[in-house]
Amino acid sequence: MTGGHRRILVVEDDPETAGQLIEQLTTSGYWVDLASSGAEALRHGAANDYAVITIDRMLPDFDGIAVMRQLRDDGIAAPFLIISALGEVDDKVRGLRAGGDDYLVKPFSFLELLARLEALGRRSETIAKETILRVGDLAIDLISRTASRRGKEILLLPREFQLLEYLVRNEDRIVSRAMLLQHVWDLHFDPSTNIIDVYVGRLRRKVDDLQAYPLIHTVRGVGYCLRAPD
């Protein structure tokens, strides 16, 4: 990633939240610009090239969605992450339909935000047109929908393959439970049980049991990360 692509615009009107975001994002290696109103967001958004723009729904002057639309109309291609206290499924769907790329409900865990930012920032990179993806000794074939480690095939259900594919595509990045639900199951709510953990647990047994090293790692409080040892 180039320096320009580590640059993020945070649109947030609450000074304390904004301060926390800037501090933590800076620590994580991002350049952060802050806009505390819709007008400021429009000015910053048009002037700079951002990897991701995070936008609050309720701003003092405009609705975040209106700001987002305006920036889109101005030809800004940067992905938008909507951060809002309006957490109902239809709020999310409305936000996504209006041109948002992802949606995060307040309050959120910072690791969740980071995971989503990483995933969004990656979108602007070119996605390789490979048909076989490899992480360590794991290989998944996107055409035949099969996975294997050290050449030995792992028997997976279709949904388990989808889950593994999503983890592989986000190799080395943290993927939250909500992101898995959203991208693998197309569900926009949290079933508020540990069902995802149980499901990933079974996938992990199939992928990691009796292998030289584990690939699927639990990130406490957030989700998972698929990573090969260095």
Partner: protein, 462 residues
């Protein structure tokens, strides 16, 4: 105060309009009756006068002036002609015969035709001044002839009718006015009673009710309906209070833990490992609080029906299949066999996310509260009564007397109070079912529990 309210009420205004309309119509009818009676009576008189005039004229034709004078004199003495008045004069208006002394001033100008006058100077023996209607004409020799009749009694008769009619019209307005005030007062009184109760409710509380009169009229029905609405509101308020008590309890427990932990940490010395564990535990508790919070707002949101706009045609069997697939791992971990059965294509109109959530909650419950190593069957079928999803387990089940209560927010059976969960799952299922117009049925599976979601009303149980 009641009178002011009565007079300014819309009922009274409507009554006034009705009275006005009715009064005008009644007056018009009475006036018509008066006018036609009057003209009928006058026509009869006029005909009699005209006949008398013609007969005198005929006498002139036969016997000349003297014949006429003789006839007039003869008639003046005849009792049956007592009401008649005659006057024959020469062309210079000096009297030749008759019981009228002078040619009436009213008829002087007009030489022929009808006239009406007060015969002031006629008939000295008459007690009152009679009203006379007469016809006048000129005989061929230039003499003038007047034949008339005293119409005082006819006039009196019509005047009496007129007075009676005016009195009747006045009476109609007065009686209608008084009656409408009384009726309006009754209506206003009932409304005032309802208003007073509403004010009392606003001021003191929901325990007041509108008194019924037992008259079984529409006012009693309005009062009854308002009362049952108040009962419903009171029950809902009670439920809300119950829920907020439960919310308070369920939120207080983790909040108390967090507070205690932080307070202890504040007074203790900083130990990195301890602090790490403390912060992570606190975040876990906070997440639990947030989850409860989210669930409550989510249920409230579903209950407002706002989601109906996003309804699409969805395949219930496909949704159930996805749920079963998602929970497959959890069932496996529990040693439970989770099976999908029934039809492959069961179409309903609804919201995929919500239906998924509802079915997922029921499956989650079935696995959690079912028997370890038991069987959970999710069945989706097209039945005659509509689409049905049933979730069956073979665990301990729920006592029949508690079937309805489990849908209450935060309700948890005593034995599962310490199992994970927040007691909101079935409230969510109920809210989703309600939104989709679906009916929930809980059946004893002996052993175990069977939940049925009917997406169209099933045939009524006999």
């Amino acid at each position: 105060m009641l009178l002011t309210k009565t007079l300014s009420s819309s009922t009274f205004k409507q009554a006034l309009i009705a009275i006005g309309t009715f009064g005008v119509i009644a007056s018009a009818i009475l006036i018509y009756v008066y006018v036609s009676t009057n003209s009928y009576v006058r026509n009869r008189t006029d005909r009699a006068i005209a006949t008398e005039y013609m007969s005198l004229h005929n006498i002139y034709d036969r016997a000349g002036r003297d014949g006429v004078i003789a006839s007039i004199r003869e008639r003046m003495t005849d009792k049956s002609f007592a009401d008649n008045l005659y006057l024959l004069t020469d062309p210079s208006l000096s009297m030749l015969a008759g019981n009228l002394r002078d040619w009436p001033a009213a008829a002087a100008a007009a030489t022929t035709g009808w006239t009406e006058f007060r015969a002031i100077d006629s008939l000295p023996e008459a007690a009152t001044v009679p009203l006379v209607r007469a016809t006048t004409g000129i005989l061929p020799n230039g003499d003038r002839l007047l034949v008339g009749r005293d119409i005082s009694d006819i006039d009196g008769f019509t005047a009496q009718i007129k007075t009676a009619m005016i009195l009747i019209i006045a009476l109609i307005f007065v009686v209608a006015g008084v009656v409408s005030i009384l009726v309006t007062r009754r209506t206003v009184g009932r409304i005032e009673q309802i208003n007073a109760t509403s004010r009392a409710i606003m001021q003191s509380g929901l325990d007041k009710r509108i008194p019924l009169r037992g008259s079984n009229d529409e006012w009693d029905r309005v009062a009854e309906n308002l009362n049952s609405m108040l009962d419903r509101i009171e029950a809902l308020m009670g439920e809300v209070k119950q829920v907020s008590d439960n919310v308070a309890h369920d939120l207080r427990t983790p909040l108390t833990r967090m507070r205690g932990r932080l307070e202890k940490a504040l007074h203790n010395s900083r130990i990195a490992d301890h602090d790490q564990a403390l912060i992570s535990d606190t975040i876990t508790d906070l997440d639990a609080v947030l989850r409860i919070f989210t669930s409550i707002t989510r249920i409230a949101h579903i209950e407002t029906n706002a989601r109906k706009g996003a309804f699409r045609t969805v395949n219930l069997a496909e949704i159930a299949g996805e749920v079963v697939e998602l929970y497959d791992a959890a069932a496996e971990q529990n040693g439970t066999s989770l099976v999908l059965a029934g039809d492959c294509e069961v179409v309903v109109t609804g919201d995929r996310d919500l239906l998924f959530d509802a079915v997922a909650n029921l499956v989650d419950n079935a696995i959690k509260h079912g028997r370890v190593g038991g069987h959970v069957v999710v069945k989706v079928e097209n039945l005659e009564g509509g689409a049905v999803t049933s979730i069956t387990d073979d665990g301990p089940g729920i006592p029949a007397d508690q079937h309805q209560r489990v849908f209450k927010r935060f309700y948890r059976l005593e034995q599962s109070r310490y199992a994970p969960g927040n007691g909101l799952g079935l409230s969510l299922v109920a809210a989703v079912a309600n939104l989709h117009g679906a009916r929930i049925e809980m059946l004893d599976n002996a052993p175990g529990l069977k939940f049925k979601l009917w997406f169209s009303p099933p045939p009524l149980p006999v």
